[in-house]
């Protein structure tokens, strides 16, 4: 089915793109179209104008910008991120995640920025990016702002981005410890996913800080705060035992939508299984580093 008709514009600068999306009437930014065109074909989203940002320079690069930060252009496709040498070296878990989004065709066309801006709860990147403590750069007519990935998705299919703000880059701090991501999939989208990052104390096999996000269960990725708390300052070798003890109460605190992918109880169980497997992988990685 073809999408309803729209005007198509191809600005070549960021300023023109931001102006074009509001004048003469409201339009939408467009790049890969893997989510947007589907929604337009299904008549779920309607827009009079598509502002194609593929001719705006500077949005499809990946670079190390500060000693400990990777900057990913929002227009990078999942395939581009999967195969990038910097990502493979510094954020291998993100490379693997991008290499498993949907299917090869979606990975070739769909972009990381589009994925985030759609706010689809059953998505892979938002959960891991939140666990990594990523920040997103939004540029609008009145300037730019940096927001935490944690705060970006407000609700199901809803973000804090204003219609005239363009998500330009994703800034990811380079982790100092293991990063793990697992999902349970129905069809091509995750029905539950868990991303985890540990920072390690230099020289000691101790977890300095842990960030755990559980995605796809509610409208947005949620922290497992109680588990994070028990892991802070804990020896790596104790992680599994501490997680087991704190997990049941932490899972009960999660907001879980029951749907055709399962009951709340079942999905909480899956989240626990994925977290334990992440922890086992992280422990093994720490063990590897010590050798």
């Amino acid at each position: 089915m073809r999408p309803p008709s729209f005007e198509f514009e191809r600005p070549t600068t960021m300023t023109d793109a931001i102006r074009a999306v509001t004048e003469p009437d409201e339009g939408m930014f467009y790049s890969g179209g893997t989510e947007l065109l589907l929604a337009m074909k299904l008549r779920v989203i309607h827009t009079e104008r598509l502002i194609d940002i593929k001719s705006v320079p500077g949005l499809d690069g990946i670079a190390q910008v500060e000693p400990h930060t990777i900057e990913i252009g929002a227009r990078c496709t999942h395939s581009r991120i999967e195969h990038d040498e910097i990502i493979k070296r510094c954020l291998p878990a993100l490379s693997r995640l991008c290499g498993n989004v949907a299917n090869i065709r979606v990975r070739n066309a769909g972009t990381i920025g589009g994925n985030l801006c759609f706010g689809e709860p059953h998505a892979d990147p938002p959960t891991l990016l939140a666990a990594l403590g990523a920040r997103l750069r939004l540029v609008g007519a009145s300037g730019e702002r940096l927001v935490d990935a944690d705060d970006f998705i407000r609700d199901e299919l809803e973000t804090i981005r204003e219609p005239d703000e363009l998500l330009t880059h994703i800034l990811v701090p380079i982790p100092s410890g293991p990063v793990t991501y697992r999902r349970f999939r129905h069809g091509e989208r995750p029905s539950v996913n868990v991303g985890m990052m540990w920072s390690l104390d230099p020289g000691a096999p101790t977890i300095a800080n842990a960030r755990i996000r559980v995605g796809a269960l509610g409208p947005r990725p949620q922290p497992l705060a109680a588990v994070e708390a028990v892991l802070c300052g804990a020896p790596v070798a104790q992680a599994g035992r501490l997680i087991d003890a704190a997990l049941p109460a932490a899972l009960d605190d999660l907001e879980v939508n029951e749907d055709r992918h399962g009951s709340a109880e079942y999905k909480r169980h899956l989240a626990g299984v994925l977290l334990r497997r992440n922890a086992a992988e992280a422990e093994a990685e720490c063990e590897e580093l010590r050798r």
Binding site: F8, T34, G187
Partner: protein
Amino acid sequence: MTQSITIAFSLNGRSIQVAVPSNALLIDLVRDRLGFKGTKRSCDMEVCGACTMLLDGEPISSCTTLAVDVDGREVTTIEGVTPAKGLSRIQEAFVVHGGLQCGFCTPGFIMAVTALLRRNRRPTDEEIRHYLHGNLCRCTGYTKIFEAVKSLVGDEFNEEVA
């Protein structure tokens, strides 16, 4: 009124210049306007792979690609990888191994396998399964398709024929 945009692109090595409505989809342009019917539409939502074409050599879903987006680029369809006489080695392998029954998904599979083997002449079993995960076949149960692809691994791959 629908906006009309003139695009120029290469279709199976042939230069095409055509004016399209901004909301035209690549699959409709290629099948209905240009008359190449080998590409099939099925799910219409990027899941089944029947409509797979190569854009600058990489697989995309032509059912959810705007025609205006191929401006200045190279599009390859099943017609572009089929020799004037006979079959390509990939097509031949599908026949020999029984990698098709009704055949509706086959053009999409052939395009995906073409892209896979151009990128990686010696994919592992896991890499084959992972790459083809997004192409659905409701007849074969995939084993025969997998065997067909497997038979081509490490083959001296000839881009002209493939």
